[in-house]
């Protein structure tokens, strides 16, 4: 064996042998380069971040989201929101953990819970970034991103990076049964109309202070002074006796059962009552003081092991197909501008004026914004509830 090797090294190479050996070496080099390319970092250009390719990721996404926003457990068919993802990755269904509201979801993550993706709403996005548990998205990996409304995706940027992919938006407004209720005018005042004592439902949220402030003409309800908060606290305490329920998640059951006739509501509650339950006399008011509106979007956890799967999931959620489902089933707006409104229920389009861009502008709508002293607002709201007799 050694002798053969020596003889190989020592003998002169003819042209044919040289070409043969060069081809072998060249082929080996190509194979090595291909393998190297497979494991080469494929993170965003310029970041130098090392990430395994998508097929090496664990694949089962941990999604922290609102109820019925993809988990499918309520039977609404909301798995359709990530239909394209399910088609591309059969057998890799995400696992959902639900939060009751933004505050409780934020608290869980603040104390250490971690997931791959979370879906909070815009008023707390700054706080989420401040937790230092998120990383920015690579929008080049989200094909649908180009179709998203830039006005609504802009708030998702922090330090020039896209930390949140805004996907859904909606309103908050009074909703009532026109066959049972006759408002004196289109106003938030309906939520404390003494004629309908014990037929009213409020949202269990400090947002009641904000809408009371809009009703009362406070200049900036999102940044009230202590005196203004005290004034609103006194006002709501004087009115809470008219309220039958404070809904934490959904007023629909009580509204449909006619235990309440008037409620603070989101568009999905109107769809539930008017379309799914045939209560055609359900009105979603546009109060003279203006509705409030909200927007929510997806964030990516910094320690996720499913980086590329997460992008694919959000891409599915941000698609025109998901937009169509969201509009038709929840009446929520979607930031994808490519959605064909002709495929959306005309009743939904007209009730929420989805074909009118000014519906989201002041003064018709007041976009929810961060409240700097949110803890103070919360304290005041808890005191309003505690004072109810």
């Amino acid at each position: 064996m050694a002798g053969d090797f020596n003889s190989l090294l020592l003998r002169r190479l003819g042209r044919r042998d040289f070409m043969r050996y060069a081809a072998v070496l060249g082929g080996a080099g190509v194979l090595a380069a291909c393998k190297k390319a497979e494991t080469t970092p494929t993170g965003p250009v310029g970041t130098g971040v090392q990430r395994p390719p998508i097929e090496d990721e664990p694949g089962i996404l941990q999604v922290f989201d609102w109820d019925a926003y993809g988990d499918g457990q309520a039977g609404y068919g909301d798995e359709a929101l990530w239909k394209a993802y399910a088609k591309a990755f059969p057998g890799l269904e995400p696992e959902f953990t639900k939060f009751k509201d933004d505050d409780s979801g934020y608290a869980k993550v603040a104390q250490g819970d971690r997931y791959d993706i979370v879906h909070p709403c815009g008023y707390r996005w700054g706080d989420w970034v401040g937790l230092d548990v998120l990383q920015p998205w690579d929008t080049s990996l989200i094909a649908s991103f180009a179709d998203l409304n830039p006005t609504l995706t802009a708030p998702g940027q922090f330090d020039g990076k896209q930390y949140f992919i805004t996907t859904d938006w909606g309103f908050a407004a009074p909703m009532y049964r026109s066959d049972l209720v006759e408002p004196e005018e289109d106003s938030w005042a309906l939520l404390w109309d003494e004629r309908y004592a014990d037929r009213i439902s409020w949202w269990d949220s400090l947002n009641m202070l904000v809408v009371a402030a809009y009703f009362s003409g406070i200049p900036d309800p999102w940044a009230m002074t202590d005196e203004e908060l005290d004034q609103m606290k006194g006002f709501l305490i004087s009115k809470i006796g008219l309220v039958r329920t404070l809904w934490p998640i959904d007023p629909s059951e009580d509204f449909i059962n006619e235990d309440v006739w008037i409620t603070y509501a989101w568009p999905s509650h109107w769809v539930n009552a008017a379309i799914w339950n045939g209560l055609e006399d359900t009105v979603y008011m546009e109060p003279k003081e203006g509705r409030t509106s909200w927007y929510c979007g997806f964030a990516l956890f910094a320690d996720t092991e499913n980086y590329y799967h997460a992008h694919e999931y959000v891409n599915a959620w941000a698609s025109a197909g998901a937009a169509e489902w969201l509009l038709n089933n929840y009446g929520y707006g979607h930031t994808n501008t490519a959605v064909d409104l002709d495929k959306v229920d005309p009743g939904i389009v007209s009730t929420f004026a989805l074909d009118d861009p000014s519906v989201l502008e002041e003064p018709r709508s007041h976009v929810e914004r961060p409240i700097a002293r949110r803890d103070v607002y919360n304290d005041v709201w808890e005191e309003v509830k505690a004072a109810a007799v």
């Binding site: 409780s104 603040a110 329920t245 059962n257 006619e258 919360n378 505690a386």
Partner: protein, 299 residues
């Protein structure tokens, strides 16, 4: 050997202690890890030593001061919860006593079967049992529909206060706790020396006299235990009030839950929790003195 005195207990103690220690170590460790340590953590949150967010203040007693000394709406809420829990506890004991009495002294051989039937609802989901009351008490629920059918109410004028009120919370809590509370009363009554009851009758006491002067005093320990069994959990109740209480049924437990989940003010929530714990401990000490728990023997 016959007639020899038994070896005194103290002489046996040194040999028994390793086994005793071994047997006790599990429960003690469990209590320490899952009871004492969490309480210590909550206490630390209440004075700012621990905080949810790094920006929160350090050690401070500001929330304790505001709650105890300042004009805090939560103190009024605490007394409201005490009133509601007292009402529930008293009514539950009054309703559960006849059940326990019947099972222990009347039912005879069938008492354990009947006991199983009484506690059978515990086999179902708590939430399901609470939601069932919404079906019964709602404006279009079973009760209001019956009242409309018999002409006592009109369709436009149902009894609103049946659902989403203090009354609803009290009613549902009574329903939930009666079967559970019948148990300690049943245990105490079953362990009564029947010869004492026979002696009372033989000496000429009427049935009511025998009950009031013999049976009832001997069952006071069970009544005290039953009262405490209901009062302690109901004073911190928050699930039932949030499901069927409406704003009027809001209790102290709801305020605590709200601070932790919505308000994210864990220091304030911990202050309210620790205060509730101290209040309940004080109550146990007082009631323990009253029912002389030290004299209770294990059956």
């Amino acid at each position: 050997m016959a007639g020899a005195a038994a070896e005194p207990l103290t002489a046996r103690a040194p040999k028994a202690w390793p086994a005793t220690l071994g047997l006790l170590s599990g429960p003690v460790l469990w209590m320490a890890l899952f009871f004492l340590v969490p309480i210590a953590i909550v206490a630390a949150y209440s004075v700012g030593v621990l905080s949810l967010f790094p920006t929160d203040l350090g050690f401070n007693l500001s929330d304790w001061e505001k709650f105890l000394v300042g004009e805090s709406v939560y103190m009024s809420l605490f007394w409201k919860s005490v009133r509601m829990s007292l009402t529930v506890s008293v009514v539950v004991v009054l309703l559960a006593y006849p059940v326990g009495y019947f099972l222990a002294l009347v039912a005879g051989k069938r008492r354990y079967v009947l006991l199983l039937l009484i506690i059978a609802p515990f086999l179902t989901s708590y939430l399901l049992r609470v939601f069932a009351w919404k079906v019964i008490l709602g404006d279009q629920g079973i009760l209001n529909s019956f009242l409309v059918t018999v002409g006592l109410r009109s369709l436009d004028d149902p009894l609103h206060w049946l659902l989403y009120s203090q009354f609803t919370v009290i009613l549902v809590l009574i329903y939930v706790w009666v079967p559970f509370v019948a148990l300690p009363i049943f245990v105490v009554l079953e362990s009564l020396d029947r010869s004492v009851l026979e002696a009372a009758t033989d000496l000429g006491a009427s049935r009511w006299g025998a009950f009031w002067r013999v049976t009832f005093p001997l069952s006071l320990r069970g009544i005290g235990a039953a009262f405490v069994f209901v009062f302690i959990p109901t004073i911190g109740e928050f699930v039932t009030p949030s499901l069927v209480g409406g704003p009027g049924g809001f209790m102290f437990g709801n305020a605590i839950a709200g601070q932790f989940t919505q308000g994210l003010d864990w220091q304030k929530g911990s202050v309210l929790s620790m205060f509730l714990l101290f209040a309940v401990l004080l109550l146990i000490l007082v009631l323990g003195r009253f029912v002389q728990l030290r004299n209770v023997r294990v059956a």
